[in-house]
Symmetry: C2
Subunit: 482 residues, 2 copies
């Protein structure tokens, strides 16, 4: 029975209305909370704890590559934002402006950072003098603000949390190497930790970051077949360096411009977790990112020995490195099952008087509902094993889903029909012209997600553009996207 006597409320099914299902899960799993600040998000404990785990895992991986954390101001004076032309054009339309500080109007208005390239350039222009000062490998964890018109929790909100890495290098090669290195850090993290398979690719000029020479991306497929851009890594070449005059004296005593990169991942990934793994009973969290990995639910908990056994079991699981919670609240077991399922904790253990008699307990997987009877003394080791299995299976299942929803098209009619009727990725050749990209978007609402890294992204001889029929340059993954 629920809090006020009701059973746990059910949610809209994914088939009925995927968008409503998403909203229901976010709310019922208590990931976000109420705020009267329009377009902004409140991350409640269940949502923020996922973000903390994302931070911990990413931060460790960044530091292993030599990255150091810093913190820069949240405000950018307008004159600083205006220095790099493409960059300001890309971001000015969606910035929020501070015009008054204390009781005085400001002499120069400042925007709340939508991203911090300009601030890092400002710092680097003073900080970097010699080749000895390179590379600079800085990252910051913060929130940014972009004045979006329509918003959805995690996927698009005016303020969101992220990390932004900003590096400066002596050579173009080093910058390109770092750009790809960080893309791979994101891809490995998404696959290993979030169990989300991703396409590693490069953005077309139309879709690249404002001010970047090239933008790399990892693209994931949600359960409704739509794409989610999940992490990006940009190579700026020396464009920002020239605009901000960031130079260093090289070993040969000549003055050179640095080459820069930036790369970011956001709270959007929580949306990805929901939409890749969730089901009609709620959230399904991959074990490696789940704040609680196992809930122990006592059956007839007032019966002799049950709670004691459950507590002992919780300790055994902890000793196996499992993040475990014992739910000894005064709800019914049925309510607790539904609650654990809604919150997406990867497994539960049911333990009642009969189980105790038989020296056993029941492990239940969140993802498949499979029940596994297990001797009590083996619960710790068995749970650890099961969590590993769940992690693997979630990735495998998501990969199968994505692959079975990835199509090819070699003529425009099939292409348009596929976009309309078969949600997913469509691989199709493209000539490289912006006009075709624009037309495809207008005709189908599908955008170019990316072309695969390296040779795989190049169209073979004789391939033709899906739109205009001219010789193709690239193999593009197309899809409707969040």
């Amino acid at each position: 029975m629920a809090k006020d006597g009701k059973l746990v409320e059910s949610i809209t099914s994914r088939e009925t209305d995927f968008a409503q299902w998403y909203t229901d899960v976010v709310k019922k799993a208590e990931l976000t909370g109420y705020t009267s600040v329009k377009g902004c998000m409140v991350l409640k404990p269940a949502g923020y704890a996922i973000w903390e785990n994302i931070q911990k895992e990413l931060d460790k991986r960044f530091k292993e590559t030599g990255v150091q954390n810093v913190y820069l101001p949240m405000l950018i004076p307008e004159s600083l934002l205006n220095i790099e032309k493409d960059h300001v054009e890309g971001f000015a339309p969606e910035t929020a402006w501070v015009t008054q500080g204390g009781s005085q109007p400001l002499q120069e208005r400042m925007c709340i950072r939508p991203t911090s390239e300009t601030l890092f350039c400002d710092l680097y222009s003073k900080d970097i003098q010699s080749y000895r000062d390179l590379p600079r490998l800085y990252n910051q964890w913060c929130s940014v603000l972009r004045w979006e018109k329509t918003t959805r929790p995690f996927l698009r909100s005016r303020e969101f949390l992220w990390q932004e890495g900003h590096t400066a290098h002596a050579t173009a090669e080093e910058a390109e190497e770092r750009t790809i290195q960080m893309l791979n850090v994101y891809a490995d993290f998404a696959e290993e930790v979030l169990a989300i398979p991703v396409i590693r690719g490069q953005k077309t000029d139309k879709e690249k970051f404002a001010g970047a020479e090239s933008t790399y991306t990892i693209e994931a497929m949600m359960h409704d077949g739509q794409a989610l851009q999940s992490g990006t890594s940009h190579n700026f070449g020396d464009g920002f360096a020239k605009a901000f005059d960031i130079t260093y004296t090289d070993k040969d005593n000549t003055l050179k411009y640095v080459h820069q990169t930036s790369w970011g991942m956001t709270t959007r990934m929580i949306g990805a977790i929901i939409m890749v793994h969730g089901d009609d009973d709620g959230l399904v969290l991959p074990p490696r990112i789940a704040p609680t990995q196992c809930v122990i639910i006592p059956i007839r908990q007032k019966a002799e020995g049950v709670l004691e056994a459950a507590e002992k079991m919780a300790k055994a699981l902890e000793a196996n490195g499992i993040r475990v919670k014992l739910d000894d609240s005064d709800r019914s077991p049925g309510w607790k099952f539904a609650d654990q399922e809604m919150r997406g904790f990867p497994m539960r253990i049911e333990l009642g008087p009969k189980d105790l008699e038989n020296g056993q307990c029941v492990l239940v997987r969140r993802d498949t509902r499979e029940k596994i009877v297990c001797p009590i003394e083996e619960a710790g080791a068995k749970s650890a094993e099961l969590l590993n299995q769940i992690q693997k299976d979630l990735l495998e299942r998501a990969r199968e889903f994505r692959d079975s929803h990835t199509y090819e098209a070699f003529d425009y009619e099939t292409f348009c029909k596929t976009v309309e009727e078969k949600p997913g990725f469509i691989k199709a050749y493209w000539c490289g012209d912006r006009a075709c990209e624009d037309k495809i978007k207008e005709d189908t609402r599908a955008t170019s997600r990316c072309y695969p890294l390296g040779d795989k992204g190049n169209a073979p001889e004789g391939a033709t553009c899906i739109c205009c029929g001219k010789p193709a340059a690239k193999l593009i993954y197309w899809g409707r996207a969040y």
Copy 2:
């Protein structure tokens, strides 16, 4: 030899000019960096790494008391800020206002959070319905903005990093208990981790937080004798609950107001570490907060076997849980010593060919410069022991300094003279009248820092106010403050 052929530059001595010494240390230890955003701070890797350690230690302690992390918006609509009268009066003069979002002027302007009481109240008013929903023990890590006129790195800047805890309770007693509990968490953290002894006390009405019923504080003494308010914990009673209509249905089915607290600690503590432990050679970091605890400096590192031995030693220290760095750069040993001292890393190990011959190395304490010769194979265990000793000694030394700079006064002339001539704390009785507090500040620039918790803060029978001579109510710690 330094980077460009110079020796490590020296800094102003504390005796000569304490403020300049502070600025020199912050700059030369590379804790902060350049920014053209006036009044704001750039935390560079050396500064931010200290903050990360502060976060880690505090966060662990918060969670042990049941606190959960959340994230709320950075913007506060003006109407929300205006709801609690005392609160808005306290903060409105120093807020920054966003008046434009995207290309449109906002219908209602919003301020960047100077603190988030109003946002938490907004959330709690929707989120809390029943006694089952209490207590709420939320905390957030974020930055806040207050439009200060004069700023100094870490001590006072427009934007700073902090955590702000916000709790809601069923009863006044529970709220008071939580307020004191968190004050003690701060005090224990300051003493155990930062090696900074603190006075735990309560603020007078004049000095309490805007909107609070009572404010508790920990007060530390800097090396120049000035006080630094180092953490505060506020009991709001049901004042905010009434203003924001935050009620719950109790077990007896009646509607009641919640009782709330908030508590915060900031990047200011990095300033405290500098000003309590630093010396004329630079920063001195307590081992428990130091990002690097030991630097191994090879002497004649190109000589056979030296670097190999140094690397082996680094591993041995790591195995002892020590955060160690091997400085194998191409600087001279003398430069490296000065650099390690400037950055405040608590100890170094010197290791050269002669040491290798003798099977020994030299451990050097940053705080006392004491040199300890130690067999190479014992370096790991000995260093761990030494770091513990340094941690203890720093606290002890700071406590002795504080106690020997804490004075008493029983007449106003002595009081004023002491403030002027003997920088430190002065304990003196006070009648409880705001007028006396104001006069003391005007005459001496000393403010009431706090009165000790519990009975110790009450003046004994017969004690008289240092200012007006009327019967005293409280024993106050007075001092000039940052």
